[in-house]
Amino acid sequence: MFAAAGFFSSAPVQTALVIAGGAAVVSGAVGVFTIIRGSTFAGHALADVSSAGGAAAFLFGLSPLLGFLGMAAVAAGAMGMAGERRAAERDLLTGIVLGAGLGVTALFLYFDVTSRSTTGAAISVMFGSMFAIPPGMAPLAVSIGAAALVVIGLIYRPLLLSSLDPGLARVRGVPVRLVGGLYLLVLAFAVTLSAMTIGAILSTALLIGPAAAALRLSRRPDFAILLAMAIGIFACFCGIWLAYDSYDWTPGHGWPVSFFIVTIIFVIYLLSGLAR
């Protein structure tokens, strides 16, 4: 079946499967709410801004996971403090914060490249390097994913109602601002795991793509979440396998995992339009 022997026994592959699987599960749950809330741009911006943390972590020799998470949490907090605003005003603020965040990323990556004479950090932060993730990072990644799922499970109904209509949710006694803040926190968790998987720039694909396809194919939000998780896992696992196998296609170097994952997600999204 697998052209590449030793796929499952490879330690880097095992770590990649665990982290990518966790990222797919959390992104599936959070992504559905991100689309229902009309916060796709905010999700993309949060992922991009988190790259500043990843770049800083490389520069100072810290855990990239903690770097991404720290910056994503700061950005999520800033978005939460901005509160409820008109969509145009919200997008404007998000765009400005996104630009500033990417500026900081550029600074850290410049220092990474000039001080270490390597472009590895830039590639890893922006596009991921899944086979280079240290195995010791897996438990922390799983913990972050589990925490995100617990929070989503707890606030599922208030979050769904406030995503549909914040005013209606407020009348029903839902603490809309608190629920929105918790959503941003789990969004930060999701983009952190996605950034580790396919890089900060492409993490939107894992956050939005499977959820968008699932929303097209489902009639219920809970089914959409399960389907988005399944699509994400399928795309990530197939992407990892293809990237592993690609070392035999072009001897000497393999193809990037992130390319395969986002391409599979893109194709699934196109097919979901036909299946509707």
Partner: protein, 276 residues
């Protein structure tokens, strides 16, 4: 035997946003099972009055009582249907899902299946004649169908008072008749007091028992037959209004120019006053 307390009693209510006084000494009361139209032009304070009753705005003065008990915040005894619900047609939220969220949208945890809850949802959908489209996505429903689902959403917690903010706006004639008939039935069969805001009173005339008319922040209330008279409405609207009867039904139409008003008031003095 003691008379039961009013389902809703509003006394000398004052609401201001900064220097702008939106409601001034607004007073009226509604008996249990009453069907009342809250009539006024756009910007007259209808939505502010509803939001204040809901506890979403803080009044500068006055008193609101539900079933004789002073009401200061949000309450499960008030059901609310907002002016509109902006739903993307692609969102996988079915009509029955939204109705269920009326019961459980504020609760923590995942929505595990429950026969009792499902039976209650089905009962509410039947009460508003929405069983036929219970499984359809909200985005695929017509305006009238969506309003019925919203009413079921508000009814499922068995409120004592049902507030609706312009539920007939942008509906066609058939849908308006259907929604009004459902509301009338709810007031009669369930004994729920219904307060419906509208800028056009004609669709409600055949169904409502009472009118609260808002203009320039002040309210006039009375039995429908007392208020819907040429001289009263002309004075309230500041415009010549004709009240005519066609095939046993009452219709209110604007008939003359504003400069005809003094003559109207001279020949038809207004006797309806603000009724606490």
């Amino acid at each position: 035997m003691d008379k039961p307390p009013d389902a809703l009693s509003v006394a000398y209510l004052n609401v201001a946003f900064g220097a702008r006084r939106v409601l001034q000494d607004v007073s009226f009361s509604l008996a249990p099972g009453a069907f009342c139209g809250l009539i006024g032009s756009n910007g007259s304070g209808k939505t502010t009055l509803l939001r204040t009753i809901l506890g979403l705005e803080t009044p500068q003065g006055g008193d609101i009582r539900i079933d004789g008990v002073r009401h200061t915040g949000r309450s499960a005894s008030i059901g609310y249907v907002p002016q509109k619900l902006n739903i993307d047609p692609d969102m996988p939220i079915r009509a029955c899902d939204l109705v269920e969220l009326g019961l459980t949208g504020h609760r923590l945890g995942l929505p595990w299946p429950s026969k009792a809850r499902r039976a209650l949802v089905e009962e509410m959908l039947a009460a508003v004649d929405a069983t036929g489209f219970a499984g359809q996505r909200l985005g695929s429903l017509s305006g009238g169908q969506l309003q019925r689902v919203m009413i079921a959403h508000a009814l499922i917690r068995r409120p004592r008072l049902l507030l609706l903010d312009e539920p007939l706006a942008s509906l066609d004639i058939a849908a308006i008749a259907g929604v009004v008939a459902v509301l009338r039935r709810i007031a009669t069969e369930y004994g729920i007091t219904v307060l419906v805001s509208a800028h056009d009173m004609n669709p409600l005339l055949a169904a409502m028992d009472r009118i609260v008319y808002l203009a320039h922040g002040r309210a006039v209330s009375g039995m429908t037959g007392d208020v819907v008279r040429t001289e009263v409405l002309s004075a309230l609207y500041g415009y010549h209004i004709d009240v005519i009867r066609v095939h046993g039904r009452v219709l209110v139409i604007a008939a003359g120019a504003a400069d005809e008003l003094p003559a109207v008031l001279e020949t038809h003095p207004v006797h309806v006053s603000a009724i606490p």
